[in-house]
């Protein structure tokens, strides 16, 4: 075990996997010698050479197009998109190509070995274009997996699982936790399962569901509610696609209430899918409407970031509303 922050855990996972599997190739804007603007790829070029860790020209569509071809050839590309806000030029390559590669060829060719890493999310005074949480844009795309860790331990285990998984994975890193989140991380090799939620705290009155950096927010709200005598089941979804509906449904069958929190705007966010599925699976158990505590339906603001964010206070209030329904 070793104390690591989230960046170190990711760096550790990359080094481990590049050692274990010589077909792993890491690239993206500034990831080479410099080690990435957040330094997640520090020392990789030094250790593994320029052929296996390199800078690309500044073109996200090119990075993912290149990665798709490389994956289909048999390598294990781990491509970095510098900020999730800049993943959209690659949207076609991801949604029309990566995700459909295997299906359209009847399984002859695949991009299953591809992992796309990208830092996402707000809370860092980044405004419109350094704060977005675009997971829902990709969650409507059969063929993709989407994974989001909440801390360094989760990050290492989930990233190793993502690289090894035989499906393309979009691995989204909560950048406001990069240095802020620190915990004990095993130095050895381990993986955590994709597609499985993680029950962080067990409770009986309401289920609180989130992922990534918002886990801290709902945990804080759960504590406040706890002080009022409300007992919360706190769940980290971890995988957005495919997602662990059964785990959530089981919890909701127990608690009768569900609150989902995410940073992205409410409309069309992934909470809508969860709510739609759970109201179906748990209709007779629900004692109140499923609550969504999300970003507002605006571009991500700057001066009003605090007001925009689905923080612990809004979550706490929504818990109370749901219980008082």
């Amino acid at each position: 075990m070793k104390k690591m922050n989230l960046l170190q855990a990711i760096n550790d996972a990359l080094i481990l996997e590049m050692r274990r599997n010589e077909k792993v190739v890491v690239f993206g804007e500034d990831v080479g010698h410099f080690g990435g603007v957040f330094r997640a790829t520090s020392h990789l070029q030094e250790h593994f050479g320029r052929e296996r860790c390199f800078n690309t020209p500044l073109t996200e569509q090119g990075i993912i197009g290149f990665a798709n071809g490389l994956a289909s050839q048999g390598s294990y590309p781990v491509a970095e998109i510098q900020f999730a806000d800049y993943i959209f030029p690659a949207f076609d390559q991801i949604v029309n190509e990566t995700a459909k590669f295997r299906y359209r060829s009847g399984g002859q060719f695949t991009c299953g070995s591809l992992t796309i890493r990208t830092p996402y999310g707000g809370g860092i005074a980044g405004g419109l274009y350094h704060s977005q949480s675009p997971e829902a844009y990709f969650a409507h795309t059969p063929g993709m997996k989407i994974v989001i860790p909440r801390n360094p331990y989760q990050a290492k285990g989930l990233l190793l699982a993502s690289i090894r998984d035989d499906n393309p994975v979009l691995f989204m890193e909560p950048k406001r936790l990069y240095r802020a989140s620190v915990c004990e991380v095993p130095e050895e090799d381990y993986t955590l399962p994709l597609g499985k939620a993680d029950i962080v705290t067990e409770g009986s009155d309401i289920t609180l569901l989130a992922w990534g950096a918002q886990m801290e927010v709902i945990e804080k709200a759960a504590q406040m509610a706890n002080d009022d005598g409300v007992s919360c089941d706190v769940i980290d979804l971890r995988s957005i696609l495919p997602w662990d509906a059964e785990c959530v449904a089981q919890s909701v069958r127990k608690t009768g209430r569900l609150l989902i929190n995410h940073e992205a705007p409410m409309t069309g966010g992934f909470a809508s899918e969860i709510a739609a599925t759970i109201q179906d699976k748990c209709f007779l158990h629900l004692e109140a409407p499923i609550a969504r505590v999300c970003g507002l339906d605006t571009p991500y603001p700057l001066a009003h970031e605090k007001e925009y964010m689905p923080d612990h206070l809004k979550t706490y209030e929504a818990i109370k509303r749901t219980l008082d329904y």
């Binding site: 190739v25 197009g65 290149f66 798709n68 029309n96």
Partner: protein, 395 residues
Amino acid sequence: MNDRNHLSNVHVTHSVNVIENGIVDIPMLQILDNEGALIADANAPEIDKEKTQKILYTMEYIRLLDERMVAAQRQGRISFYLACTGEEAATTASAAALSDDDMIMSQYREQAALAYRGYSTEQFMNQMFSNRLDPNKGRQMPIHYGDKKLNFMTISSPLGTQIPQASGYAYGQKLQGTDAVTICYFGEGAASEGDFHAGLNMAAVLKCPVIFFCRNNGYAISTPADEQFAGDGIASRGIGYGVKTIRVDGNDALAVYTATQKAREIALAENCPVLIEAMTYRLAAHSTSDDPTGYRSKEEEAKWRERDPINRFKRWVMDKGWFDEQAHEAMLSESRQAILAAVKTAEKVDVCDIDDLVNDVYDTVPWHLQEQITELKAHIKKYPDAYPKTAKGVK
């Protein structure tokens, strides 16, 4: 850290030099004249009788296949087809200059390259009839061929996407130390996509052994080349990327063969991309959904029909004494029959089982797709008449 100087190769001038169109002349390689005779100061490539005949026969076979399948589409037997008439030399002769290990990533009008590799008439048909023998499992429209064994990447409709993919594929080949390259075909229209820019630039910077083969056939559906770009074709862009570039007469099989051979040699020896622009003409309609009379004249088409790449090459083969009338006739009539028979067989083969609707989305079928397919099967069982293609397979 080494000091860098991005001005090290830049000269200085003291009056405004405007770099304009026409500053570079990019001539087009021609070895056969329009009548198929070897041009006086040109050298024919070294190419043996067998290969020569294979090139010729592939071109003729594809012309035949195109004719038959356009007809089959008119008869309503298949939903869609896309012919390559007029462009047979560009794709056949380039494929002939490759090794079988080289990966082919095509746009959609390169069926001749696939045929040259050995794709059978039956395979063509199974794909076009979306039946259960189609390697794509009936999931894609006709003409979206692909065959892993033949190193021919499954075709995808979105234009240009295969270009950066080809760079990545070739990079992988280099890493793996294979002696193979990737060839990436695309039209001059697709070269307007952002993916073209990304693919060529990345290949140049990352030193990928890939041949970018542009078929400049004058049109992208109805849009003529002069509304597609204002520069000197696609070849002139190679300069901007620092990519070695060859322009070739796409209707001259020998020239295409020579250019591609040279490109492959450079790509492998120098680990770098090479761009080929093959100047040709889409004599066919864009596809069976298209009617070119809406945007170009019969006269224009006629001019190009005179430059037919098959006749031109055939005359050279004849001059060589390598044209075997009998073998030729046999091949043609055999192909004609084979196509007819294959159509009849393929259209009777069932579609895949309903489970293939959800297979291959992921490596294994996840819970939600399992739920959906189970529900769907129960539904089909309830309404078998409404889903005649799959009902009998649902137990």
